[in-house]
Amino acid sequence: MTMKFHKHWKGIILFLLPVLVLYGMFFLYPLVFVYLVSLMKWNGVTHMAFIGLKNYIDNFRNPIFRLALGNNFIWAFSLGIVQIALAALVALILARRPKGWKVLRTVYFLPNVISKVAIAMMWLAIYNADFGMLNALLKVVGLGALETNWLGNVSTALPAVIFQEVIYIGYFMIIILAATMSIPESFYEAAQMDGATVWQQERFITLPLVRGIIVTSMTLAIAFGLRQFESTFLMTNGGPANATMVMGLQLYVDLGSLDYGHANAIGGTLIIIGAILISGIRRLFGEREETAEANQ
C-alpha cells in the first residue's frame, strides 16, 4: 500500500488537484461562507459586524419568511408524498408490461428533459385569466362558474404552481420502474401458484422489495421541494400577497437588496432543514442507500 503511494504520489496529487480545487471553490468555501456571513450584519461592501443568531431570529419573526417556510414544506410534501405515490402507481402498472409500456415509459419522461422554465411559461399561458386553456376548457364542459384568475387568486395560486410540477412524474417513475422490473419473475409465479391476487402480489412482494428505492426517491423529491425557485419566480414571483413565496426566492430578494446577512441565514436554514428531513426519512424507514440520481 505504502509502496504504491510512493510510486505514484506525484500522479495522484496531480490528478486529484483539479477536482479538489473545484470542489473546494464551489462546495467547501460556500458552505463556510454561508454560515459565517449568516452570523454577520453585512451589505457586501462595508465591514462585517458579528451579531450572533440575530439574522436567523429576524427571519423567523418575519411573517413573509414564515409563509415561505410553510410553502416549502407544502412543496416538499407535494413532491415527496403525492408525486412519489403517483410515480409508484404508474411504475407498478408499467412493470406488468401492458401493451405499449415501453412507449409510455419514454413518453412520460419526455417533459423531464424540457426545462422547467419553458414548462412554467407554457403553464403561464394555460392559466392565463383572459384566454388561457384552462378557463376555456372549463367553459366548454359547462363548468364556467369555476373560471378564475388561477395565478392571481390567493387561494389557487400555490396549488396551481405546484400542480404543474407534481404531474410530471417521469423522473421518479423511471427509477421506481427499473427497480420493480429487476424483481425476479419467479417470485410472482410462486405467488400465483399459491393463489395470490394481483393486488396481494404488489402489496406483499413488490412494495417491500422496492421500498429502498421509494425512500431514495422521496428523499430526492423533498430536496427538490426545498430548492423550489424557477416555477415560482416565473409564474407568480412569490405573489399574490406572498401567497406563493418560497425560501429560495426570498433569499434571492434579500441578495438583491444587498442584505447578505439575512440572505445567508436563509441559505443556512435551507441546508439544515434539508439535512434534518433527509436523515429523518432515512432513519424512519431504516434505509441507507446511495442517492445516485440526486442532482440540482
Binding site: 471553490m25 462546495f27 413518453v107
Partner: protein, 287 residues
Amino acid sequence: MRAGLDPVGRRLGVTDVIAKILKWSVLVLFLLLTFLPLLYLVISSFKTNLALQVRPFSLPVVWQVSNYVEAVKISSLPLLFLHSIIISTLATALNLLVTTMGAFALSRERFRFQNVILNLILAGVLVPIIAFMVPYFKLISAMKIYDTIWGLIITYASINVPISLYLIHGFMGSIPVELEEAGIMDGCSFWQRYAKIILPLSRLGLVTAGTFVFLFAWNEFIYALLLTSSLRARTLQLGIQFFKSQFITDYTSMYAAITLTIIPSIAVYIFFHERIIKGLTSGAVKG
C-alpha cells in the same frame, strides 16, 4: 407470467374488468397531462392572437408561420442558442476532464484518506446549491468573470462534480485490474494508463455523466439569472423569461419562441432516450 389478466379468452371477472379500466384510466390520464399542454402550446403558436382568444381549441385557419419569423427577430434566439451550446459543451468537457482524472486516482490507486476524499465529494450531491447564491455571486465577481460565459461554464462544471464523480467512479471501479496490469507490463506510465486504458474503457460511463451535465447546463436557470446581466452571456433559459417583456401582448409569437426553445431538448431526447433512461436506472438497480 406477470400479465395479470388471462388473455386467452377466459371470462374476466367484474373486478378484473374494473381493474383494467382503472389501469388504463391512469395511463391515459398521464398521457393527456403530458401531451395536451404541449399540443396546445404548439398549435397556439401558429394562430393569430385573435384566433387564440376566440377559438382556443380549434386548429388555426391559416397557419401563421410569420409568428416564428417574428419570434426569432424579437428574441435574439440564435445568439442565446449559441451561448447555451457553447456553455453546455464546455461545462461538460471541463467537468468530465476533472472528474475522470479524480475518479481514476480514486478508483485505480490506493492511498491514505482515499475514502475520506471520495465521501466528502460525494456528500456534495445532497447540498441544496440554491443556498449558495451569495457565495457564488461573490466568487464569480472576485474572479472577474461576472456576466461572461466563463462564469457559467466553471459554475456548471463544478456544481456537477459530485454526481459525475459518483457515476464515473462507479464505472471505473468495475473495470478488471487485469486489463490495466497488461498495460503496466507494457510500460505504460500513470498518465498513459489513464488516457490509453481506463478512459476508453469508461466510455459508457462518460456518456451517462456527460448527458447529465449537459442537460443540467442546458436547462439551468437560477445561476444564469444570478451570474449574468446582459446579452453578452445570456443563455436560452434565461432568455425565455424576457419573452414576457419582449413580446408584451403578442402571445402567439411568444408561444412560437417557447416552442423553438423546446425543440432541441425533444430532438436530443428522441435520439438519446435509451441512453438517458439507462443512465437514470443504472443507479436504481444497483441500490
